[in-house]
């Protein structure tokens, strides 16, 4: 663990799902993903069937990292909004709370304007949730681990994982 570890409890997850579930409807989106900057998929909503979500998460993080690097080269802190237009589906990508990436996939049932508008509001809401999660994680780290499942695991548990 090399930074504040990201720990997502059920109640946090439910809050995020509620926000992105609403956003799918409000923005007429096909599906929505929340990915952290390290490429971990945090939450998903909408028609996600048929999408390789793990690959989507790692490539989104890679793309955000690369464009963030480009931004710094030209003296910008970041490019917080990205839009990729396809023949059928489009991708709207926004940075939330500096650490999270909100990915909205939409087709011609919606429009870039509508997605932008709805993402702005939902992004602010999500920002607050992630700030709260971050504060909780920092407080737990300061008090020594909180309810981490690793509190209870033994060396044998780890060894058993590799016994083949």
């Amino acid at each position: 663990m090399l930074d504040t570890q990201l720990v997502m409890y059920e109640e946090d997850h439910k809050q995020i799902l509620a926000v992105i579930g609403r956003l799918v409807r409000d923005a007429n989106a096909k599906c929505i993903f929340i990915v952290d900057k390290n490429g971990q998929l945090i939450a998903e909503a909408g028609e996600v069937r048929g999408i390789d979500t793990t690959s989507l998460a790692s490539l989104t993080a890679g793309s955000i990292a690369a464009t963030g690097g480009l931004a710094k080269i030209i003296g910008e802190e970041d490019f917080p909004v990205h839009f990729h237009q396809g023949a059928r589906d489009n991708l709207h990508v926004t940075l939330v709370a500096k650490r999270m990436i909100l990915v909205v996939i939409f087709d011609d049932r919606s429009s870039l304007g509508l997605v932008r508008l709805r993402v702005k509001k939902a992004g602010a809401e999500m920002g607050k949730i992630f700030e709260m999660i971050q504060k909780k994680a920092e407080a737990e780290q300061a008090t020594g681990g909180g309810q981490s499942p690793f509190n209870e695991i033994t060396d044998d548990d780890i060894d058993n994982l590799f016994a083949d």
Binding site: M1, L2, T4, V7, H13, K37, I42, G145, F150, I153
Partner: protein, 196 residues
Amino acid sequence: MSFINYSSREINCKIVYYGPGLCGKTTNLQFIYNKTNPDLKGKMISLATETERTLFFDFLPLALGQIRGFKTRFHLYTVPGQVFYDASRKLILKGVDGVVFVADSQIERMEANLESMDNLRINLREQGYELEKIPFVIQYNKRDLPNAAPLDEMRRQLNTMGAVEFEACAQGGEGVFETLKAVAKGVLSDLKRLSR
């Protein structure tokens, strides 16, 4: 930096394979991919040039099983080894939980190994990490080649910190899973230690 999800009861960790160009980082991942049960792996992604040199990264998601009801998932990444891709290497190291350094045993690649190891230290330090303090495994790859440097010499030059080390021939798979297991175990032990 690992991610613990209580909702889906998953623990996700990130492992990065580092090393000089053409040392066999991608080959390690390809071997793991080819030999892993399809239920336990996701799609392997390689962002490579037309000549199959890694351009940005390779990515392989892997499930290792359960610990106390939590599914453990490892995301394996490689960095592009060529010197001029340093900006990309820095990006990929972000949030890393464990590192494998793949050294090229060919005697004429010793300089490249040393340069890459220095580069790893510098890039980790820029993000506030110390190589000595993170789960770290060294793999001496291409031991089967006739121009391989003596193991003692490689150890003396590259493993000054006494890290766990393995000899390997990644193309044939020798040492590949041993390396992966050692770093994964290191990551989980580290998480356990830090949660105490």
